[in-house]
């Protein structure tokens, strides 16, 4: 052994995945909620909001990189859903619809603010390593590292790791095959690891420093 012993029997299953049957059940439930909302039931809209808001917000946050802008974009997403009552349309997969709307708004936002984003990225990259080191916050390091990933890699990583969609769902959303999505996610994680190491922080070190904030909920 080279000082790196792993008790293979103790490795936790890292991701929580819903079964296909449960995913279909969720999809049907979402469709029912949306239909009820369009028919006039406001409580169904509230339930739809509670089911999807947080992970869509995380998507916005990690793509746009700004908390306030992410919240503004999410408000726009839900306003669009509210307007479905005025122009009812058949939506079989509300979760996919929500992601598509969110994704379009985020990409439009990134496109419109490309210059500013570029300047921010430039300023971020010009930060000294010490300045980043001084931030012990895991989120700051991750935000910085994610901002240096290409948007394609970042999106797949966010959809998988933050929004908790499985590869089949991501492939369906992005119109790609599952193998390509798996490959892209794997490469994204490898690049992210390299970026973090270039910042002088390994993932283990980040986890160790962020333990007070990390409840291990996802492991």
């Amino acid at each position: 052994m080279d000082g790196f012993a792993i008790d293979v029997s103790s490795i936790p299953m890292l991701t929580r995945r819903t079964s296909t049957a449960q995913a279909e059940s969720d999809r049907d439930g979402d469709a029912t909620l949306l239909r009820r909302y369009i028919d006039g039931d406001d409580a169904s809209f509230a339930e739809l909001f509670d089911r999807h808001h947080h992970r869509l917000y995380l998507y916005c946050l990690k793509i746009v990189g700004d908390d306030q802008q992410a919240e503004d974009l999410m408000q726009e997403v839900w306003e669009r859903v509210i307007k479905l009552r005025l122009k009812p349309q058949r939506i079989d997969n509300p979760a996919g619809y929500l992601v598509t709307v969110t994704r379009n708004l985020c990409f439009n936002h990134v496109k419109q603010h490309r210059r500013r984003t570029f300047l921010n990225t430039f300023l971020d990259r010009s930060e000294t390593a010490d300045a980043v080191h001084d931030r012990s916050d895991l989120s700051e390091h991750m935000r910085h590292a994610l901002s240096q990933l290409s948007i394609e890699y970042r999106e797949v990583l966010v959809l998988q790791m933050y929004c908790d969609y499985d590869y089949d769902e991501i492939a369906s959303m992005l119109g790609m095959n599952v193998t390509a999505i798996r490959m892209r996610a794997s490469r994204a994680r490898a690049q992210l690891r390299t970026i973090l190491e270039s910042m002088g922080r390994s993932a283990d070190a980040l986890i160790a420093r962020s333990l007070p904030h990390f409840d291990g909920e996802s492991l």
């Binding site: 991701t15 509210i82 994680r189 904030h213």
Partner: protein, 257 residues
């Protein structure tokens, strides 16, 4: 040994391997230090991302209440379904119908003598058709007989006017004009039929009218000749020969006297 790819490691960490595959992977992991490092690195990366995900929690209560508060301003779908037909998108046929009716009324007011129905139109057409022959006769009467068969042909062509032309010309006439012309035509018809009787009594023989210019006019048929002969023109002399065969034939010879 083949190098295990990252996707296989991820499948192992995700618990997506079947039991046999998982057992084989664990066996390989127990003997391969490099694989263990890679698995540990991948695991820590995923842990870090999950930790970041957990740290990104935020209270969305304010946004939630704001969004939910914006719902009641929109009418429920039930109200949408009970909208009147005109508001459901059927207003174009309605507008078109109103426009057509309004246009018809406006035309009717501007041109009061338009035929108002198919029955009145057919009545007008019948009256016009009845007036065709007298009109032609009248026009022939107005023509100098000395102008020869050309005038007769015009009269003949006048008889062959289509009813559509009659209707068109009738539309341009006022009702008063129609009444007046009808009266004139009736008297012209009477005069023409009287002359026909006269020529029949004379044995349908050649009628010779001599004009001052000595022009012989030979209309093709006795009936036409009689109508031409109705108003003999002084400067022309018309000669109406006998009809030689069953087919009406026009022989015109204009010779100076």
């Amino acid at each position: 040994m083949n190098r295990v790819d990252d996707i296989t490691i991820e499948r192992y960490l995700d618990g997506r391997m079947d039991p046999a595959e998982q057992a084989a992977f664990k066996a390989q992991l127990a003997t391969d230090a490099s694989l263990r490092r890679r698995v540990a690195s991948e695991e820590s990366m995923i842990r870090a991302l999950r930790a970041d995900r957990s740290a990104a929690r935020r209270d969305h209560a304010e946004l939630r209440s704001r969004v939910l508060a914006s719902i009641p301003v929109i009418a429920p779908a039930g109200a949408v379904k009970t909208r009147p037909a005109v508001r459901r998108g059927l207003y174009w046929p309605f507008i078109a119908t109103v426009a057509i009716v309004a246009g018809w009324i406006a035309i009717d007011i501007a041109v009061p003598d338009l035929p108002r129905s198919s029955s009145s139109s057919s009545t007008t057409q019948t009256a016009q058709r009845d007036a065709v022959t007298p009109q032609a006769a009248a026009s022939v009467q107005g023509i100098s007989a000395g102008q020869g068969s050309a005038s007769a042909q015009r009269a003949d062509s006048g008889q062959r006017e289509t009813s559509a032309q009659h209707v068109a010309s009738g539309e341009r006439e006022t009702s008063a004009q129609r009444v007046a012309s009808g009266e004139r035509e009736t008297s012209a018809q009477r005069a023409t039929s009287a002359r026909r009787e006269t020529s029949a009594r004379s044995g349908a023989s050649s009628i010779r009218a001599t004009s001052t210019h000595g022009v012989n006019v030979a209309p093709r048929a006795a009936s036409t000749a009689s109508s031409i002969d109705a108003e003999p023109s002084p400067p022309l002399r018309r000669e109406i020969p006998k009809r030689t065969d069953s087919v009406a034939r026009t022989n015109v010879s204009i010779t100076p006297k």
